[in-house]
């Protein structure tokens, strides 16, 4: 009975994987041989961000804590939940707040999706910051990875701005006054304070409808595009700069100690060794 079932399953599986449709999508067999494990990484546009092989040490979860990867994953979660919220949210000051109330109370899964968007956003600020701290302590910003660190700093700023622009959108007292406090800061920029505030808020004083539409546009398209492009460069450069840095190599003192030990061991033992 079971052998007959297996025979049937095998036949169905084979006819699927040997069909022209399947073979037009996947150019290789199941990745359980070194050849197919290489082909799957090189032939898949999403997987080819990764190399075929990776250093065991650099891959350790206790080395990276997955912080960069999780930041990217949170960006994806925010994009998906964000598109859902865009279906229901109109960036107009007379309806923005009630739209959020509707999402919370009348839209199926609306509250869950909005909660996920909010918590992912806060968490992303945390993971990006911790990723930066981790990279600093491992010295992974040193040559040849200097410029990727610079891109990382810009991505950090982009993350903060994405969070900041999103903060205003519910148009409640929290967002409205947090952005008022924040954008007032910009007015204190030397020389160009008033102009900077005007560009940011769309009006000379305070926060209003022009601010809402600017923050909305930046939040849903401008900054995500900047982030996506910079992320592409960031990931590409990891590969081009020699992959993950891996745990720091031994210190100067340790290298010298090892060298001294080697030299001592290599030296021919003096007189008396002839017997």
């Amino acid at each position: 009975m079971s052998t007959m079932n297996r025979g049937l399953l095998d036949r169905v599986w084979n006819s699927v994987t040997e069909s022209q449709i399947w073979r037009s999508i996947f150019r290789h067999g199941y990745p359980d041989t070194p050849l197919n494990q290489s082909l799957v990484m090189m032939g898949n546009v999403f997987l080819h961000l990764h190399p075929v092989k990776v250093s065991r040490k650099a891959m350790k979860v206790t080395y990276t804590w997955c912080l960069g990867g999780l930041s990217f994953f949170l960006f994806l979660v925010l994009t998906i939940t964000g598109v859902f919220l865009m279906f229901y949210f109109v960036p107009e000051q007379s309806v923005a707040y009630t739209d959020i109330q509707q999402i919370n109370s009348a839209i199926i899964f609306g509250k869950l999706v909005r909660n996920m968007h909010r918590w992912s956003a806060h968490l992303m600020v945390v993971t990006v910051t911790l990723h930066m701290v981790r990279v600093f302590y491992h010295g992974a910003y040193k040559p040849p990875r200097e410029f990727n660190w610079v891109i990382g700093v810009v991505l950090f700023l982009t993350t903060l701005l994405l969070s900041f622009t999103g903060y205003l959108l519910p148009w409640d007292q929290i967002g409205y006054w947090a952005i008022t406090v924040g954008s007032n800061m910009a007015s204190y920029a030397p020389l160009l304070g008033a102009q900077v505030h005007n560009v940011l808020a769309g009006q000379p004083v305070g926060v209003g409808q022009p601010t809402l539409i600017r923050f909305y546009t930046l939040h849903v398209i401008g900054l995500p595009l900047v982030g996506a492009v910079l992320m592409a460069v960031h990931f590409w450069r990891i590969r081009k700069d020699g992959g993950e840095a891996g745990p720091p190599p031994p210190s100067k003192r340790e290298i010298e100690a090892a060298r001294a030990e080697q030299a001592a061991g290599a030296q021919p033992t003096p007189a008396g060794s002839l017997n």
């Binding site: 997987l47 891959m59 999780l70 302590y137 006054w177 406090v181």
Partner: protein, 182 residues
């Protein structure tokens, strides 16, 4: 370095000679990669499945944490915005509360513009300022000390601004009242 394509010699009627071989550049191999034969092979594993399994598990774990958190805790939504009713205290988003705390001690141009500006530019320039080539902790005492002092300072300022400041930005202990929104 690169294999260059030899210019095909042309016969009198303009067609390339039949025996002429053509070369194409398939890859540029850096000298170092060719010569450093004694370099030890790294202890490496296939990304499929070893790394991808870890990434998948991390993503699944994160999805579960997010879903459970979002089911348990609702995102805040206060009253409709009112330009005539300034909350006291009016706080920036949590990641700027360190700066808002510093604003309490320094003039706005310094705390609100110059300090964050210098921090960002300084961070971006870090790899060009810190010329020490070693990555070992032991060889980097200065840079690690300086960075740690800055990081701890900002963390303390952020915590103070978040949980220890009440109306009029007066110092308040968390058990006396928390003025903090996420």
């Amino acid at each position: 370095m690169a294999t260059t394509e030899p210019r095909p010699t042309r016969t009198e009627n303009g067609t390339a000679g039949a025996t002429q071989k053509r070369y194409r550049t398939l890859a540029v191999v850096k000298q170092e990669a060719v010569t450093r034969v004694e370099k030890q092979l790294e202890d490496s594993v296939f990304v499929w499945p070893h790394l991808l399994v870890r990434e998948f598990l991390a993503a699944m774990l994160m999805t579960m944490v997010l879903t459970v958190t979002s089911l348990a805790i609702d995102a805040p939504l206060r009253d409709h915005s009112n330009p005539n009713l300034t909350p006291n205290p009016a706080k920036a988003p949590w990641y700027f509360l360190g700066l808002q705390e510093i604003l309490h001690y320094f003039p706005p141009t310094v705390a609100g513009v110059l300090i964050p500006g210098f921090v960002l530019v300084g961070l971006a320039l870090l790899p060009y300022i810190d010329r020490n080539p070693s990555r070992a902790f032991e060889d980097r005492k200065l840079s690690i000390t300086v960075f740690t002092i800055f990081a701890v300072f900002f963390a303390i300022a952020t915590l103070a601004g978040s949980f220890f400041r009440g109306s009029g930005w007066q110092w308040i202990w968390p058990w006396q009242g928390v003025f903090f929104d996420l």
